[in-house]
Structures are given as C-alpha cells and as structure tokens.
Symmetry: C2
C-alpha cells in the first residue's frame, strides 16, 4: 500500500467520524426536543439534516475517488466498501432524528395528555450504540461491535415497555389516540435508529471476521 | 473494458434481478398473508428470508471480487457500487416483508375486530415500485426511476388514509387497540418497503445523472 493511499484512508476515517459526530448531535437534540416538546429545536434539527445529506454524498464521492485512483484489493477494498455502507447508515440515522423532530412538531400543537413516556434512557442508549459502533469501526474492535448488538436488545425492551404503557394510555383516554400514536412512533424511530447503529456494528464484525475466511483471498 | 469484465457485469445484473424477484415474491406473499390472516404463509415467509440474506451476501462478495480483479473506474466502478447499495436495499425490503409476516402471526391469535383496512392496493403499488426500480437499474432508465419516486407519494397517501381510519377505529373500540396498532404497523412496513424501492430509484438517477457532472472524471 502506498503512503498516499494510507493518507487518503486516514482522511476518510476522519470524515466518517465527523459525520458520526454530526449525526450524534442531531440524535441528542432530537431526544431533547421530545423531552421538552421544543418545536424550535425540532425545526433546527430538520434544517441541519441537509448538511448531513451533503456530507454523506461527499464521503461517498471521496471513497469512489480512492477506489478509482488506488484500486485497493483485499482488506483495503473491503474497508472502503464498508465505509460506503456505514456512511449510508449514518445518513439514515439522521433521517430518524428528523422523523422524531417531525413528531415533536405535531404534538407541540396539542396539549400534553396525562400520560407521558420518558424517552431519555432509550435515547441515551441509542446514542451510546452509535458512538460505540463508530469507535468499533475506527479501531476495528470486534468486541465493542458485539457489545453494540447486545445493547440493541435493551433498546427493544424499552420500546416494548413504551408500547405496553402507551397502549394502556390509549385505552384509558381513547380521544387522545392521535397524540399517543405520535409518542409510539417516537419509540419506533428510536428503535430504528438503534437498528442502524447495530447494522454499523455488524458491518464492522463482517469486515474483521469475514477477513479470516477470506484471508488467502484475491 | 475487457470482454471478461463485461461478462461478469452481466452475471451481476442477472443475480440482482433474481434477488429482486425473490424479494418481490416475498412482498407479494406478505400482503396476501395479511389479507387472509394466513399464519402458515407468514411462517413460510419468515423462513424464506434466510435465503434472501444469503443471496445478498453472495452478490456483495461477487461485486467485491469483480472490483478486486478488474479494478473498474468511472461509470463501471459507480455501477458496481450502486449494485452493492441496491443489493442492501433489497435485503431490507425482505426484512419488511418479514416484519409484516410477524404482525400476521400476532393478529392471527386474536379474533378480527369490526374494522379492517384493505392493504391490497398499497401492497400492489409497493410491488410495482420495486419491479420498476429494478427495471430502471438494468436499463439505466431515468424516466422510469422518476416515476417510482412519484408513486411513493401515492403510497404515503394510502398510509395516511390507513392512519386516519385506524385511529378512528381505536376511538370507536379502544379495547382492541393492540390489534389495531398491528394493522397500523403493517401500513408503516409497507410504506418503508416503498421507501426502499424509492431509494433504489434514487440510486439509479444518481448513477445516470451524476455521471453527467462527473463526465470528465478520474
């Protein structure tokens, strides 16, 4: 591998981490926007998504450029392909944050019903999974990637808890079903967000462990 | 481009279309399973997803092999990267069909409530979008890809209609909220399925039109 290629790889790693931080901030703010039913913050989240989309396109272009110029093989090729896929996951996590912000815009127009689900724990776990999955990528840390996958079950558990409680709240006060369905959708968006972090972790595992089988490759 | 590379490209195109057909069948059956609340069909759908996952991995391996062996540049490189991304979308469409099948397993255990939403139109549209998006890929047909994107709005409209009607059904019979939420989730899975078809169409547009800007490339 040439020194130039190694340098390009480092730049790509840095860029994907920067995108990761942008997305992480968006997720953090989306959970805060829910907690406070903060419609101004929700509006800002929706505007910031554009920057994330642009960055995703730039990173993919960068990856294609590196592939065309350096024509890497074996592990380096797989790394770049993995980055392209993870880049895509990050953009989708941003979309989920936007979906959450849109739910906030909807519920902000109506009075709060008596029942409320606190999404802070679920949001924190999802954020942590995102950070850990990106650390796993940069350090090729399979153990960390496996930990992300186990955390996904914890997020699912909270989602199920939210589901049961919100279902009961609807039974108790069916005229507020519209509001409560929005709360339900917030938990599904957080769950999908965690799923994308899990996808990132799975990509890292495949990148590292798939390599064992394919070691004699190309 | 060598003759050998051209041949490999044709094989990859055929394989992605085969995967597309498998996924299409799964989607078709999942909508039928909902319509009939057919739990046996739902079970079979869930089992067949494994084959789709394996095929996705094989196609990605094939793409990586072609990249490593032939080191394509410009439009050929972008085409292979697009296939890798679309391959991923197809696997996720399969996941949505599985999610729908799981909803069928849940509702099959309980008696049908008085209200029912007919998902056949939404399912047909989503299937059509999937087929069109793959045709657009193979023929690099941008007009067809744009038509897929406009169809996404039609699917969203039906989803909104389902939402309004199911919300009313919950208000009318709040003790059946659990059942109705499953109906609601089916429409969201169909919507996401259509979103993935839209993603495929967008990839095709980017593949073809991005090329114009990047023509002097590499």
């Amino acid at each position: 591998m040439t020194k130039h290629f190694r340098k390009e790889l480092e730049i790509i790693k840095k860029r994907i981490l920067t995108l990761g931080s942008m997305v992480e901030d968006l997720v953090h703010d989306s959970v805060r926007a829910v907690d406070r039913v903060d419609v101004d913050l929700a509006d800002r989240i929706i505007k910031r998504d554009r920057e994330i989309n642009d960055t995703e396109v730039d990173i993919e272009e960068e990856c294609l450029k590196v592939l065309a110029l350096h024509q890497p093989v074996a592990v380096d090729l797989r790394f770049i392909i993995t980055v392209i896929k993870i880049n895509n996951e990050l953009e989708r996590i941003g979309d989920q944050a936007v979906n959450i912000a849109q739910r906030v815009q909807v519920i902000a127009k109506r009075p709060k019903p008596p029942f409320w689900f606190d999404y802070s724990e679920m949001g924190e776990k999802a954020q942590k999974m995102l950070r850990m999955s990106l650390d796993a990528l940069v350090n090729l840390d399979v153990d960390l990637a496996y930990r992300v996958i186990t955390m996904d079950d914890e997020v699912d558990k909270i989602k199920n808890d939210a589901y049961d409680k919100i279902k009961q709240a609807i039974k108790d006060l069916p005229e507020r079903v519209g509001y409560y369905i929005n709360l339900l959708l917030i938990s599904r968006h957080l769950e999908r967000l965690a799923d994308h972090a899990t996808n990132i972790a799975e990509e890292v595992i495949y990148l590292v462990e798939g390599e064992i089988f394919r070691h004699a490759g190309y």
